[in-house]
Subunit: 363 residues, 2 copies
């Protein structure tokens, strides 16, 4: 007989945690007052936490089919895992154990557990495991807060400090792509739900995986870490220009970014948008739209690195071996705090774009 | 010049984390992609997470003076720390490093940072430190989610499993007191705010510290752990009967609780409440009201322990040496799942009370 009562907290937790894979080094998983895990000898721990909030990071009302809702829940979970994995990768650490704190609105167990499964799946791809959590009821937007613990060899973690003037600026993946895709997510979800309206020129459904299931850079980070080429690192979660500024501030340096020719799917989006309002505004060009997307607010969960120029090739080879695109896009300068873009003709101008700020962004 | 703009996320984080005490073993504190900490050799880690949600765990609108708001924010923070410290104590671990994830509604920096300071102060009393966090903006009830990592000697942590029939049931402090006090918090806050309406018979302002600043049981737990007397443990965060049931289920045992004579401040509250609706109902007695408070929903952050009868005195002495009240209130039985109360005349009846369930409790 199906139980007509709404699920209680303890049953909900039991169902949510049932069948979670037991991770490496997990002595005692969910269900006690705390999880017990065993760290490896000779390692430091890195600890990071990130959250997603309904209405700010995703909207539930955008999906009206079961397939769409499942896909969205999975993406929300995977992105939350990716946000934390990316922080751990930016420290050159190996992700291990996570706990998930949930503020849920009601007994929509399917939705909540699909998000949790997305989190667990995202973590699992890098060998990390959910070992515990907490469930509170909220009257209002639901939220999911994930804390991830990783391990890194003692005194060997990367940080935002350490970039020197002359170091190369390298980035993984396509910075700005997640933010650009976010502008067209409605069309994507319509397609997922079978309404068949995608077919954005130059954009394929698989491109959206940069948003729905961001690739992990943990393996690439560890491979590059082994080369000793990287002097500082930050993950791109606010946007290229914003996060570059954070790293420059922590390291006391400036940066100059080489002009890039618009290409690939990001260029396709820029061209598409140029064809709309931007063209009508009369001041934009495909290149300026491309740069606004590339350097502006975007949570890509990619890595931005300061690379010792003498070890550029070793670093590039490590990224290649991890099947991770790595581009050298500029260099750090002694001009502390100055973020410049250099065109092919040698002219310099301030780098466009700024990071996403939860509290500055007006509704 | 004061900045008229609302504080941005990064400035808010910077201000929130400024001046936090650097904890033991902290290699890199707030401000990077993740914190870096150094675990001690030969230790396991325990990881727990808990949250507080506006409107569910506290109400902001109850305070109309600056003094009242400051007191409430401090209490909210200290209780969140206590919830996590209590979980760590229940594993016999030493609390070390914590990260705080915040969903804040607006730029009321004073309120938010007072809560964070309450968290840091609560953690600091046990030698633990905030090493990082995350800030999201929410449109709706604000929330604070804390994750705490502790250390315990390998394979030596307590858990809910391990209680045997015949083991003594011991509890620290006064179970039920936090829940009972919660029923009279409005009067307390009125007093704090200078409206001078406290003077509840038998209840003093300092009694409310069980709610506003729950005492930590970490030191007592470690002292009792050293005696080897404790076979299983759980922290009281849902209520005596509910948490006892969790421990019994995990250990596959039952429990019988000796009838206790109502005494102390909890008895005073029971007597006061008996004088009201309970007396009018005609079925309650001061004793039944006392037991409903004692065994019912209450987040006391006290410890419930299964104690080896042969080591009762060593356990009691360890608690005394830690200035922690410890009462032996019954024993575990072989009757799995049965929670009974035994009266002085030897009669047995089911233990009243049940734990707090976020999702079963209707508004």
């Amino acid at each position: 007989m199906p139980d007509e009562k709404p699920l209680g907290e303890f049953e909900l937790i039991e169902r949510l945690t049932r069948g979670l894979p037991k991770g490496r080094g997990v002595i005692l998983g969910p269900g006690d007052d705390a999880a017990v895990v065993r760290p490896s000898d000779g390692m430091d721990l890195v600890i990071t936490t990130d959250s997603v909030v309904e209405g700010r990071h995703y909207r539930r009302d955008g999906c009206d089919t079961e397939r769409g809702k499942r896909g969205l829940a999975d993406a929300v979970g995977r992105r939350l895992a990716a946000a934390n994995l990316s922080d751990v990768a930016a420290m050159a650490a190996v992700p291990r154990w996570a706990v998930l704190s949930i503020g849920a609105t009601s007994g929509d167990l399917e939705w909540t557990s699909n998000i949790e499964r997305g989190v667990a799946a995202g973590l699992g791809q890098d060998g990390a495991a959910l070992v515990g959590g907490n469930l509170s009821r909220v009257e209002g937007p639901e939220w999911f807060s994930l804390t991830l613990v990783g391990e890194v060899e003692r005194d060997r973690s990367w940080s935002r400090r350490g970039a020197r003037a002359g170091d190369l600026i390298a980035v993984t993946g396509v910075p700005g792509f997640a933010g650009a895709i976010e502008r067209h997510l409605n069309e994507y979800w319509a397609e997922v739900q079978g309404h068949g309206v995608l077919g954005l020129p130059g954009l394929e459904a698989r491109d959206f995986s940069a948003w729905t299931a961001p690739p992990s850079r943990v393996a690439a980070a560890r491979a590059m870490w082994r080369t000793g080429a990287v002097r500082a690192a930050i993950d791109l979660s606010d946007g290229f220009a914003g996060d570059l500024a954070h790293l420059c501030e922590a390291s006391g340096v400036g940066a100059e970014i080489d002009a890039a020719r618009p290409e690939g799917a990001l260029a396709a989006i820029a061209e598409m948008e140029f064809g709309g309002d931007a063209r009508r505004s009369g001041v934009a060009t495909p290149e300026t739209v491309f740069e606004a997307l590339r350097f502006g607010p975007s949570d890509d969960y990619e890595l931005l690195l300061a690379v010792d120029p003498a070890k550029r090739e070793a670093c590039a080879a490590a990224a290649r071996a991890s099947a991770t695109p790595l581009a050298f896009v500029g260099r750090f300068t002694a001009e502390a705090g100055a973020l410049m873009r250099i065109r092919a003709d040698g002219s310099r101008s301030p780098l466009p774009g700024r990071g996403y700020d939860h509290f500055a962004a007006a509704e």
